[in-house]
């Protein structure tokens, strides 16, 4: 573990576990050390796991449409916890309807996320971005 450690979880009152399993599997297969904190995770759960595990990225999943509410203040809490440099991704059903993706993406970037993924994104794309953002590409 160390420079390839990432924290993965489903935020808020969301219990959708399937996507999380798939991401967990794909990330591990790609050589990442995954700290999977599971469904129904609070912002604090992500932060505590990231501190203890020394993770370099937090990957947030949300499917039930309340991600915006669940992620408000997350960036600020990370700053408080001394994790202001951690990489922050989010993906899933990020807004009910999601009519205009650009708007959704902008909103979540404002909330502090470095990358925002729409539904039907394949794990390979996330892995590629992670490797690039963490400087793991040869």
């Amino acid at each position: 573990m160390g420079e390839r450690t990432v924290v993965l979880g489903v935020i808020g009152a969301d219990v959708h576990a399937v996507g999380l399993r798939i991401l967990d599997y794909a990330l591990r297969s790609a050589g990442f050390d995954v700290v999977n904190i599971g469904v129904l995770s609070s912002q604090e759960d992500f932060i505590k796991a990231a501190i203890e595990s020394g993770a370099r990225a937090i990957l947030v999943s949300s499917l039930y449409g309340h991600a915006e509410l669940d992620c408000r203040g997350f960036k600020e809490k990370l700053q408080e916890a001394g994790l202001e440099n951690i990489l922050l991704y989010i993906g899933g059903n990020l807004g009910i309807g999601q009519k205009n993706w650009e708007e959704v993406e902008k909103k979540f970037k404002e909330l502090g996320f470095h990358r925002v993924y729409p539904p039907k994104t394949m794990p390979d794309e996330v892995i590629r971005d992670l490797k690039k953002d963490l400087g793991l590409e040869k």
Partner: protein, 455 residues
């Protein structure tokens, strides 16, 4: 085969003699502890009394072992990173090893933390922090700070495995004694305390007994084998081997101990486990709940309930009595009123200590419906409770006190046992059973069957 098992406590040195061939207690004695002058005086007096009772000579006893909670017990400071993760794991490990946790620290130690640590005079410091491969900064920084303290005590490192060599060198370069062991939390949320507990016991045997001047007992007996609370915990493990999952409550003058040997898995559907997993064998100690030295803090903790349950005059009376007991700490109840008051205090000690030990359920309202989060152990189905300690062994009103263990519909989310059967350690030998079980398992089990009785 004969055995004498001693408990060198802070107030009394006790001894129980057994005829192990007949699974029988053949003698019992106690004498005020003489740890401050010479620990052997107390032991010698107990031996003399038991020799008188049994007509045997001390040389006739094949097993002569002791446990100790003297000289303040085994005082541990636990340091971790995040309060409810590695700090909590380090604390749980220390308690389960029979230690007395003076204080728990988290994140980076400040100068005032360090000053406080020196003043607290711990016997051992446990440093944890980071999962394996995880955080490096905090364990290293804290190790550097701790290694500079003017403390000549053993340190145990049970944090991020990657730092083991580095941490070892930090302490060794300052001439400190350092033990390295497995991480208390190797992965996020996974608690691993057995290895560090073994090291704590090893350090206790190798250093602490000597440091406290207790090794002098070896002139008279084989030696001290473990801290008393650990022996009691082992006693309960033996009880559980016969009767299944169980809980033990030990109410004392200064503290109330609660131990459980139980998984505590959810007993209802739709429950989601949250927080750090609890160890199967768990011990918690409440330093503010006791019926003598800690009577005042017990009164404070129970004040709301006491006011609810008694008339104004009675509350005043209780408060007066509590003040008296907290000063006259060796007071033995003289009349029915005294006994009744002791039982009331014990009830609240039992109630609050059990509430703090067991898990609880939190209701969470979500768009997906109502969810139940369970933190800690669900002991509602657990059906065996063992009680020990003066107020629960000798008080005729103890069954009233023990009601504090039982689940209440008024507090439906506190996961206490619903319908337990109570057992009592009438002869006060739980610690001795723990010691004997390490030598003759089968004999220890037979002593449980014979002497730990259903109320």
């Amino acid at each position: 085969m004969k055995a004498i098992i001693f408990d060198i406590g802070s107030t009394f040195t006790k001894g129980v003699a057994f005829d192990l061939d007949r699974d029988e207690i053949i003698g019992k004695a106690k004498y005020p502890s003489t740890v401050n002058e010479d620990v052997t005086i107390g032991i010698q007096n107990v031996i003399s009394e038991i020799e008188r009772q049994t007509g045997l000579n001390i040389r006739d006893f094949n097993i002569k072992k002791a446990t100790s909670s003297a000289a303040g017990g085994l005082k541990i400071i636990a340091i971790g990173l995040v309060p409810d993760l590695t700090s909590e794991a380090a604390k749980k490990a220390s308690l389960g090893a029979g230690g007395k946790v003076l204080k728990t620290y988290s994140y980076e130690l400040t100068n005032s933390d360090l000053d406080e640590i020196v003043l607290l005079k711990p016997d051992i410091i446990i440093l944890a922090g980071g999962t394996d491969g995880g955080n490096r900064y905090y364990p290293i920084t804290n190790a550097k700070k701790l290694s500079n303290l003017p403390l000549n005590i053993p340190f145990i490192y049970a944090g991020n495995k990657d730092l083991q060599d580095e941490i070892k060198n930090i302490f060794l370069s300052k001439g400190k004694e350092i033990y390295i062991t497995e991480n208390v939390m190797p992965e996020y949320g996974v608690i691993n305390i057995e290895k560090v507990q073994n090291i704590i016991r090893e350090v206790f045997l190798r250093n602490i007994i000597h440091a406290k001047g207790l090794d002098k007992v070896q002139e008279l007996i084989d030696g001290i084998v473990m801290p008393t609370p650990l022996a009691v915990l082992k006693g309960l493990e033996n009880f559980s081997e016969i009767y299944g999952e169980s809980l033990l409550i030990d109410v004392g003058g200064a503290t109330t101990d609660v131990c459980s040997v139980a998984k505590g898995d959810p007993t209802q559907s739709n429950v989601i486990l949250k927080g750090l997993r609890e160890p199967y064998v768990k011990r918690s100690v409440e330093g503010d709940l006791g019926v003598r030295v800690s009577a005042l803090s017990l009164f404070d903790a129970a004040k709301k309930d006491i006011i609810k349950s008694f008339s104004q005059d009675k509350v005043k009376l209780i408060e007066e009595k509590v003040k008296f007991l907290s000063i006259n700490t060796s007071y033995i109840p003289k009349n029915d009123e005294d006994l009744h008051l002791d039982a009331v205090l014990a009830y609240f000690a039992v109630k609050i200590a059990t509430e703090r030990h067991v898990g609880h359920i939190e209701l969470v309202y979500t768009p997906m419906g109502t969810l139940l989060f369970q933190y800690g152990k669900d002991l509602r189905e657990l059906d065996k409770v063992v009680c020990t300690g003066g107020p629960l062994i000798y008080n005729p009103y103890r069954l009233e006190s023990l009601k504090g263990v039982i689940y209440s519909n008024d507090e439906p989310f506190i996961l206490k046992p619903k319908n337990p059967t109570f057992y009592v350690d009438n002869e006060y030998i739980m610690f001795a059973i723990g010691v004997i079980s390490e030598i003759y398992k089968d004999k220890a089990l037979r002593l449980v069957e014979k002497y730990i009785n259903k109320i």
